[in-house]
């Protein structure tokens, strides 16, 4: 029991770091989740890293939406649009 606790407390950033990324992919097993939480509570740098990955994940999800507010300065070339319009007019 005591050894187990010591092992948990002694988790280094290097041990925790893969868990942070892994937690973005799927829920961690309870034991890893607890170890991660305990480490994040005492390690400011890993907590920053954890938040950053979380932000990247949330941003990526919002980028995936149909009306994502990105590249708003980019549009399709007018000549390509004209070509498609002409094609549609002919076929419909």
């Amino acid at each position: 029991m005591f050894d187990g606790m010591m092992k948990t407390l002694k988790m280094t950033c290097k041990d925790v770091y893969p868990l942070i990324s892994e937690s973005q992919d799927h829920p961690l097993p309870l034991c890893d989740k607890t170890r991660l939480k305990m480490h994040l509570a005492i390690c400011g740098l890993c907590e920053i890293y954890n938040k950053q990955l979380d932000m990247i994940c949330k941003l990526a999800q919002s980028l995936g939406k149909e009306e994502a507010k990105v590249r708003e300065d980019t549009s399709m070339k007018p000549e390509v649009k004209e070509k498609i319009k002409k094609w549609i007019a002919e076929k419909s």
């Binding site: 994502a68 990105v70 399709m76």
Partner: protein
Amino acid sequence: MSKEILDPQNWVDLYADMMYRFSLVRVKDPEAADELVQATFFAALKSQHTFAGKSSEKTWLFGILKHKIMDYFRSSKKHISIDPTSNEETDRIQFDSNGHMNPKPISWNMAPEKAAENSELAQILTSCLEGLPEKFRKLFVLKEIEGMSSENICNEFDIKPTNLWVILHRARNQLKLCMESNWLNTK
């Protein structure tokens, strides 16, 4: 509720730019994005009779576009593995002898839930994505932007789960470092 109808004559004016940007975020190459939008309109025109009017015209067109994008990714599929000799594929985050992350993460001073609404940060992520090695970019797009499950990605794209994990992990780290330097430079 009235049934939705299709109006192909207005498709280009109403949806082309939106569909083009949607494609560009995913495929990076402007010519490929052009082709995807064209192919979508062509396919839509041919299968107008399958439109049941239950969804909006826009939703229906984007549904076809999403299929075209997946076909595009599938057509470029080859066995994906990690190249240990490639410099651009290594993990950019290392640990120093004291066990600390190197380079040290610098706070972006933002609550994670606010990040998704920040258009400046979204723009930075978009350009950082373009800088990733192609296989990193592709897998990140499928997983995080398309929201595909890891299991489906592994099955469809012939990649081992451990390799997928390593690539996603390194892709996130490259994105993180790229975003950190761009974001902090704007401050």
